[in-house]
């Protein structure tokens, strides 16, 4: 049971960033009027960030990871969250074994 000071600092920073986005509505409510285009860019933030985080692992590691990512993307069109994780993990284990 350890609590590293640097880790704690990082967690507190993350907590403040998250809380700021959650209470922003108190200041913004009724005043936010985004153009459809700005709205589309705003809606694109979560997928853009998620993809940016995983792209090195999916595209710049090796062919087993890239192939497993493609399979997971295919699975994501019809399976729930954990099904996709199961397909991706099983695929990467299989492809790495073939390597």
């Amino acid at each position: 049971m350890t609590l590293d000071p640097q880790t704690l600092l990082a967690i507190l920073g993350m907590a403040i960033a998250t809380y700021a986005t959650r209470i922003a509505g108190l200041a913004l409510a009724g005043r936010l009027d985004l153009s459809p285009r700005a709205q589309a860019a705003f809606d694109a933030i979560p997928p853009a960030v998620l993809v940016a985080v995983i792209a090195p692992s999916a595209l710049a590691t090796g062919w087993p990871e890239t192939a497993a990512a493609l399979l997971a993307a295919l699975a994501a069109t019809r399976l729930p969250l954990l099904g996709v994780v199961a397909v991706g993990v099983a695929a990467v284990v299989g492809f790495r074994a073939l390597m």
Binding site: A10, D43, A48, A60, A76, V85, A90
Partner: protein, 239 residues
């Protein structure tokens, strides 16, 4: 008093399917955090203070020792930026809430309970009893399962043996599918993926997150304003 407990019970009744779905996700998060060297206590502290699944998964993926504070905070801010719009939409519906109830209640606003509250507000007045009745078990469940996952995960050893290191990638692909809105999302994902992978290769972490996110946003902006966009080269290996 009877409406108070009735509303609280209704909140619990509405949230439990989301809670059930969050149990394996929490366990997975804890196990992955343990794989990156976070102790169960650190994992618990993160779930208590941050309570944001997507941002927490991203943080653990980016985690190195010592913790890269700037990159972690920035990635958290970007992933949770959607909460700005969500809270702006929810706040006008919190009319029966005191100032403190708002400040405390919004601390734990996440995708699931926000969506349920918005749904409830369409037909009923949103009461603090309903909101906190929904929130408390959900938050407790996330804290408990992620901590348990960290305890169990620490005993499993090298996550690469089970392909668990790839669980993030697969999970994020599934989450992207949940945010899918057609053509605009396609260009967002393609641009973000290519830009991030190239930046990672040539500049190294953590710059790939910023570069990928910005290119994704730019692609969304272009795609949303144009009927037939050609913003980026076609790429077969986009996730």
């Amino acid at each position: 008093m009877s409406t108070l407990s009735e509303d609280a019970r209704r909140g619990l009744g509405d949230i439990w399917p989301a809670m059930l779905a969050a149990i394996p996700i929490g366990l997975l998060f804890g196990a992955l955090a343990a794989g990156k060297g976070l102790s169960p206590l650190e994992t618990m502290v993160m779930s208590v203070f941050v309570f944001a699944g997507g941002a927490q998964f991203a943080a653990v993926e980016l985690w190195t020792t010592p913790a890269p504070i700037g990159a972690l905070v920035f990635s958290t801010l970007l992933i949770n930026a959607r909460h700005i719009l969500m809270s702006a939409s929810l706040v006008p519906k919190l009319q029966g809430f005191s100032r403190w109830q708002k400040l405390l209640g919004l601390y734990y606003m996440a995708d699931e309970n926000w969506a349920l509250a918005e749904k409830r507000a369409r037909t009923h007045r949103l009461t603090p009893a309903y909101w906190f009745g929904m929130l408390s078990p959900f938050v407790a469940c996330w804290i408990a399962t992620s901590t348990l996952g960290a305890v169990v995960g620490a005993t499993l050893g090298d996550p690469r043996r089970f392909g668990a290191d790839f669980a993030f990638t697969a999970l994020f692909i599934a989450l992207v599918a949940a945010f899918w809105k057609g053509r605009v999302t396609f260009w967002t994902v393609a641009a973000a993926g290519i830009a991030s992978a190239l930046t990672y290769r040539f500049a190294g972490p953590p710059w790939h997150v910023l570069a990928g996110a910005l290119c994704g946003l730019a692609a969304a902006w272009i795609a949303a304003g144009d009927a037939t966009p050609e913003p980026s080269k076609p790429e077969p290996a986009q996730p």
